[in-house]
């Protein structure tokens, strides 16, 4: 949009004038926003016990300065872009393809060797498990949102169903993790169909609202059905998964003793890490296979044009329900892993923020790219963790400054920037499910985003 300002016929003075003018406007807007958020701080005086205002001019100036620099760089880039040809788009498309071919295996190898690295400690393993859990959830939701084009804002409900299935089955029937895992998947898939039925006729915003409500209903039921779910106290003492019957305990029949290793609590973490990695790879394998099968092709056709689907004899009801059920099933698997890992679950873990995060991962990664979901999970989950470590900002803003407070602000900014830069996600093109001669990816401009 700003390219319009840069007609090459304009002389240089006009161009510079324009840049200065727009940069100053940007800084003025930034100042209005930063004045109440950064400049002014109310503080209670310890001596007189009154409220007074603290002015933080340095922080304010730095923030406005950053905006100025960004705006000038942005203007220069836009000016340059207007002066070069528009050849770049086809190049990025081809680059994206080549990029995808080797990045997947590299990431997989990195994920496998990570627990054996010397620097890997409990914290890193924990983050790794968290990221892979979100990758798995992202792949599950991608079936519903990315492929079938059905906007689901209540995906966390299936995660909760999976978690509570495992916890309750283990508590009441003494089932082990490996029996509960498929059962949790089946329960979640059933709930997927239960949700699917009433929303079959809904599209777009209406569908999103109903699924959002569904997510909340599940959470509120879990919160209030105290006898069964433990209410807000949650369920604790959920049995941990064993290594095919061998527990991770210190005793003589534990994992360490059986394999002649020295006991370490990291062994359990490592096992959990590989467990979720295996589950995520299973999700990847099944969903990428399904995509190339008639079922997955029907999901994408449904996203493109539902009426045309019906005219070709596709039963759109079954197609929608299968997308909901299979997406939910992977959510259920991930949920039962979550319960096993935490050994404690409560409705607090399944609030709307979770659904929003998973959806953001899918949208950010690209609606039909599985590798994109991996990147966005690393950015969203890992990125938030990195932002926790912003201790160096204390050097700039003074020792009272708490960087973790800025975490969500920076995060929001990052989201906006990514969406400006790549509005259809990191990997926006789509690989065809079948080809005759040559596999050419389909550019994002042609792909429908789905209205249903």
């Amino acid at each position: 949009m700003s390219n319009a300002h840069y007609d090459p016929s304009h002389d240089k003075g006009d161009v510079i004038n324009g840049i200065v003018k727009r940069s100053l406007i940007a800084v003025a807007i930034a100042a209005i926003i930063f004045a109440p958020t950064i400049l002014l701080k109310t503080q209670v005086s310890q001596i007189s016990n009154t409220l007074f205002i603290l002015y933080r001019w340095e922080g304010f100036a730095i923030a406005c300065g950053l905006i100025l620099i960004w705006r000038v760089l942005y203007e220069i880039r836009a000016w340059r872009k207007a002066h070069t040809d528009h050849k770049s788009s086809s190049r990025t498309q081809a680059g994206e393809n080549r990029f995808g071919h080797f990045v997947g295996p590299v990431l997989l190898v990195a994920a496998i060797v990570l627990p054996f690295m010397p620097f890997t400690d409990r914290y890193i393993l924990d983050i790794g498990i968290l990221i892979i859990t979100y990758v798995m959830l992202g792949w599950g939701l991608q079936i519903v949102v990315g492929l079938a084009g059905l906007l689901d804002l209540g995906y966390v409900a299936f995660y909760a169903v999976g978690a509570y299935s495992y916890a309750l089955l283990a508590e009441h029937f003494g089932f082990g993790f490996w029996i509960c895992l498929p059962l949790a998947g089946i329960f979640a898939a059933t709930w997927g169909v239960v949700l699917g039925f009433p929303v079959l006729r809904l599209r777009g915003d209406y569908l999103a609202i109903v699924t959002l409500a569904f997510g909340e209903i599940i959470r509120v039921v879990l919160l209030n059905w105290r006898d069964f779910t433990g209410g807000s106290n949650g369920l604790s003492n959920i049995p941990r998964p064993s290594f095919f019957g061998i527990p991770f305990s210190q005793g003589p029949d534990g994992f360490a003793a059986t394999f002649g290793l020295e006991y370490s609590s990291l062994q359990r973490m490592g096992f959990l890490y590989f467990l979720i990695l295996a589950l995520a790879l299973l999700t990847f394998y099944i969903s990428s296979r399904l995509r190339k099968l008639p079922m997955g092709r029907a999901w994408e056709a449904l996203r493109e044009d539902e009426i045309a689907c019906r005219s070709l004899g596709l039963n759109t009801i079954n197609t929608k329900l299968s997308a909901f059920a299979i997406g939910a099933m992977f959510g259920g698997f991930a949920g039962s892993f979550f319960a096993a890992k935490q050994a404690f679950i409560s409705p607090e873990s399944f609030n709307f923020m979770e659904s929003a995060t998973i959806l953001a991962i899918v949208v950010l990664g690209g609606m039909s790219s599985q590798i994109g979901v991996v990147f966005s999970s690393i950015a969203m989950v890992g990125g938030i963790e990195v932002l926790r470590q912003l201790q160096f900002l204390k050097a700039i803003f003074g020792p009272d400054f708490d960087p973790s407070q800025l975490r969500l602000l920076l995060f929001g900014l990052a989201m906006i920037i990514v969406m400006l830069w790549r509005p259809r996600g990191f990997v926006s093109s789509r690989a065809p499910t079948v080809f005759f001669k040559e596999k050419k990816s389909v550019g994002s401009s042609m792909i429908s985003q789905g209205r249903g």
Partner: protein, 265 residues
């Protein structure tokens, strides 16, 4: 004469107080091209939507006689079953291709039900069983044969939305044909085509009719196309049938001339 492929009896469609189609009856034969024509707002597309199940008619019956499968009452069937079971395929006035999918993928979706059975509802497909692979191979071959027939085999791996308009029209017809229909319903297939493309389309439709002995039912505004290729023309005006017969008969029918041109007072 043999039993007609499609028999429409007293088809009526009311939207509230508006009667869009009023006691409309006609027959369409297998191996014939039947055209429904009429001025704007005559109820052609409504009648069409009733036949293909996108609307449920208020009254009347629509019976399809499938040579191998028997008779079907289309007015009581769901739209996707009309395509899958009764083998009636249709296209749309405003082209409805799966734009973000490749040309080949579009034709593969038309063969969804056969492929779904071959993949044992995805179970055989996930494990890559040879029976499914063979079925997929055959589906690709069938698609490619159709693409060669309309001369766009080299564009099989291009996104459907990237095709020129005329080719999109043809692709949509071919996609409908991939469902192996006995009756092909085309909603204004020549809309937006230039005269040469219209002529090509007419030749193509006649070839389809002769090679596969399907019945073709079409709505069309382009009179040169209609008069050239139709075996049988039905004229609608204000939801009622005003004429029915061969192109020569319809062309000279006073009622048709009145509806199209008006009469001197």
């Amino acid at each position: 004469m043999t039993k007609p492929l499609l028999t429409v009896r007293d088809l009526t469609m009311r939207f509230g107080g508006l009667v869009a189609v009023d006691k409309f009856s006609f027959e369409a034969q297998s191996g014939h091209i039947t055209a429904i024509i009429g001025p704007n707002g005559a109820g052609k597309t409504t009648a069409f939507n009733c036949i293909t199940g996108f609307y449920t008619p208020s009254d009347g019956s629509v019976t399809l006689h499938h040579p191998a499968r028997g008779d079907f009452s289309l007015e009581a069937m769901e739209d996707h079953k009309i395509s899958r079971v009764a083998k009636v395929a249709r296209t749309f006035q405003n082209i409805r291709l799966f734009g973000g999918m490749t040309v080949l993928e579009n034709l593969m979706i038309a063969q969804h039900n056969e492929l779904m059975r071959a993949s044992m509802f995805s179970i055989a497909g996930i494990f890559g069983m040879p029976s499914y692979r063979r079925a997929e191979r055959e589906a690709i071959d069938k698609s490619m044969a159709w693409l060669e027939r309309i001369g766009i085999a080299d564009k099989a791996d291009e996104p459907a939305a990237a095709l020129p308009y005329g080719q999109q029209r043809k692709l949509e017809i071919v996609r409908a044909l991939c469902t192996d229909p006995v009756l092909l319903c085309l909603d204004e297939p020549a809309a937006g085509l230039n005269p040469k493309e219209s002529d090509d389309l007419g030749v193509f439709l006649r070839q389809i009719r002769d090679d596969f002995h399907v019945g073709i039912l079409l709505i069309e505004h382009d009179m040169s196309v209609v008069m050239e290729i139709s075996d049988h023309i039905v004229v609608l005006d204000y939801g009622r049938k005003i004429s029915d017969g061969t192109p020569a008969h319809v062309r000279n029918d006073a009622a048709v001339i009145k509806a199209y041109l008006g009469v001197d007072e």
